[in-house]
Subunit: 345 residues, 2 copies
C-alpha cells in the first residue's frame, strides 16, 4: 500500500513532530540526511499520505502533523524498541532495593520513578483489592449501635467499614458472628465476599438463629467492596508542561479526568496481556482526545494483578515509553511475585 519512501517520510515526520511539536514541512524534512529527496518529492508523498489519512494540515499552507491514524500506523508498524540505559535500569531496580513490605509503598515509588524517567504522568493501578483473600475478619464495637468491621487480606491490606448494629445485640452475639465468619470466609476473595456472606446468612437462617441474621444483613450492606480502583499518580502535573495543554480549559478537563478516573469503572480494563496503546479518541473520553495512554500489566504467574500506565500527549515518545514500561512491568511482576507468592500459593 505504502511505498518505501512514503513509509520513510511518514516515520520521519512523526518522529520529528514528536520531538518538536511543530508541524513539519517538506523543505525542513529534505534537510535531514535520512531523507535524500527534494522538497518537491516529499511534498508529493506527503500529499498522498494526507489523502490516505495518515497526515493532516493545521491550515492550508502549514506543514503536516500526524493524524490519529498516522500515530496508529506508526505505533503498530514502526516502533523500534529503544535501549534503556544502564543508569536508568539501575534507577528502576532501586525501587526494590530497600526491602519494602508494603506493596503500596512499592507502587508509590514506582509511579514517581516512572514519571521522572519519562517526564510524563504515570498512573499505577494498585493491586485490585478484590483479588485479595480474607486473612482475618474482626469487629470492634464503637457505640451501642455501631461497630467497625475490619478485614485484613493476605497481602496486608486492611479494609474497614462502620456499620450499624441492630438494637440489643450483646458482645457475645457479635463474638459469635465473628467466629462464624472467620470459620467460613477466611481465604475467600474479597471479590466473592458478599456472595459468600449471603450464603452464610442463609445457613444461619436455616439454623433459626434470627438474631445473628439481622446483624449479618447490616454487615453485608456495609461490606460492598466497590470496584473503585485505587489510582496512584506520579508527576501529576507533568502533563501541564506539554505545549498542547497550555490552554486552561484543556488542562482543567484533564485534571478533572485524573481526579475521577477511579470512579469510572473499567476504564483501565486490559483486554490483553502486555502492552497496550490507546491513542486520542481511542480512550473513549473527550478530555483524553489529545492524549495517549500506554498501559502495561504486571502479573503473578498467569494472573494479571495490576497495571501501570503512562499518560502523555498523543505526540508522546512512544518508543521510549513502551521500552520503559516493558522493563518496569517485568520488574514489578517479578518482585511482587516474591512478596505475594507465599500467601497466594
Amino acid at each position: 500500500m505504502l511505498t518505501n519512501r512514503q513509509l520513510l517520510i511518514l516515520q520521519v515526520t512523526v518522529d520529528d513532530f514528536i520531538e518538536t511539536a511543530q508541524p513539519v514541512g517538506s523543505r525542513q524534512l529534505s534537510k535531514k540526511e535520512e531523507v535524500p529527496f527534494s522538497p518537491a518529492t516529499i511534498r508529493n508523498d506527503m500529499a498522498d499520505l494526507e489523502e490516505m489519512g495518515y497526515l493532516e494540515k493545521t491550515h492550508t499552507s502549514s506543514g503536516r502533523v500526524p493524524s490519529q491514524k498516522g500515530y496508529r500506523y506508526y505505533v503498530d508498524n514502526m516502533l523500534t524498541p529503544q535501549r534503556i540505559s544502564k543508569s536508568e535500569i539501575k534507577q528502576i531496580r532501586s525501587i526494590f532495593e530497600e526491602r519494602m513490605v508494603e506493596t503500596e509503598q512499592i507502587i508509590r515509588k514506582s509511579a514517581a520513578i516512572l514519571s521522572e524517567l519519562t517526564n510524563y504522568t504515570s498512573i499505577m493501578l494498585g493491586l485490585d483489592v478484590r483479588k485479595h483473600r480474607v486473612k482475618r475478619f474482626s469487629i470492634v464495637p464503637l457505640t451501642d449501635d455501631s461497630a467497625v468491621a475490619i478485614i485484613v487480606t493476605d497481602s496486608g491490606h486492611v479494609e474497614n467499614r462502620v456499620f450499624s448494629i441492630p438494637e440489643s445485640f450483646t458482645a457475645s452475639d457479635i463474638e459469635r458472628m465473628v467466629n462464624l465468619i472467620n470459620e467460613r470466609l477466611v481465604g475467600v476473595h474479597l471479590h466473592e465476599l458478599q456472595a459468600k456472606l449471603e450464603a452464610v446468612t442463609l445457613a444461619v437462617l436455616r439454623q433459626n438463629n434470627g438474631r445473628l441474621n439481622d446483624l449479618l444483613g447490616s454487615l453485608n450492606k456495609a461490606l460492598t467492596i466497590e470496584h473503585e480502583d485505587k489510582v496512584y499518580y506520579g508527576g501529576k502535573m507533568q502533563l501541564l508542561n506539554q505545549p498542547e495543554f497550555n490552554d486552561v480549559e484543556k488542562a482543567r478537563s484533564i485534571m478533572y479526568w485524573m481526579d475521577h478516573v477511579n470512579q469510572m469503572p473499567g476504564l483501565f480494563h486490559l483486554d490483553q496481556k502486555g502492552i497496550q496503546i490507546r491513542i486520542g479518541t481511542e480512550n473513549n473520553h473527550l478530555a483524553m482526545e489529545d492524549c495517549s495512554i500506554i498501559t502495561a500489566s504486571y502479573d503473578i504467574g498467569e494472573e494479571q494483578i495490576g497495571s501501570i500506565a503512562i499518560i502523555g500527549p498523543t505526540r508522546m515518545d512512544y518508543k521510549r515509553v513502551v521500552s520503559l514500561l516493558d522493563v518496569m512491568s517485568g520488574d514489578l511482576s517479578r518482585e511482587l511475585s516474591k512478596i505475594l507468592h507465599g500467601p497466594h500459593g
Copy 2:
C-alpha cells in the same frame, strides 16, 4: 486616619472589584448612588488611599485595584456579615439528615456542599487522627516475618501498618504482646501513642522479657503516626474558573500546592478559635500569593477537632464565605459532638 469618604470609597472599590475583577475607576464609581461625589473628588481620595497603600494601579492610567493591605483593612473593618438564605441553610443541614455514621462521609459531603454554595474550592481538614484515642489494638500475622498492626480508634477510624517480626517469634508471643498493649494503651491519644509504647517497652525490659522487647521495638518504628493531615477537597477545579488563574503556570502551581499541602506540616495550624482569614502572601507560600484562605474551626466542647476552609482568589467574596463558614462550622461542631461525644466523654 481615614476620612469617612475615604472609607466609603475604599469599601465600594473593593466590593466592585470583587464583583467584576476589573480595575475600578473614579468615573465608574461616581455613577453609583452610594457614592454621591464627582469623579474628581473620588480621584483625590483614591490617590490618597493609594499613597497609604490600600489601593494600587495596574498601570499608570488604569483604575485602582485593592492591595493586600487594602483587603486586610476591608476584612478587618468592613465585613458586614451576610444573610444566608433559608434554602442555603437547608442545603447545609441536609448533610446531617441521613444519619451517617462515618465521619469521613460527613466531611466529604460537607466539602462538596460548601464548594457548591460558594463556587470556590473547599478544603476540609479531617478530624486530626492524632487526637483520637485507641479503642482496640490487634496484630494479624501475614508471613513468618511480617504482620500488620491495626489500631481502631474511638471514632471508628482504623490505622494500620505492616511491620516486620524479628525472627522466631511465635503466635503466643504476639498474642501476649497484643494483650499487653490492649491492657495499657486503650484510651491513649494516638498522639501520645509512641511515647506510651516506649514506656511499655521499658516496663517489659525491666521484667527481663527481652524477646517481646524486640518486637515492641519493631512495632514502635512502624507506628509513627505522622502528622499528615488528611485533606478533602470540594470543587477542586473551581479555582480554575477564576479569571486570575487563566495562566497555566499559576494554575499548575496551585494544583500542585493542593496535592501536596498534606505534606506541609502545620500549614493549617489555627492560632485561634473561630474564623481566620489569610490573604495573599500571608499564606507564606508562593503559589498562594494570589489566593486567600478563610479557615474556620469546628470543635467539640473546648477542643478544636478540625477545620474547614475555602480557598479562592484574593478577590473573593469574603462577606459571603465568612458567613457560610460560620454556619457550617457551627453545624459541624454540633453534629459531630453528637456522634463523637459518647466515646470522648
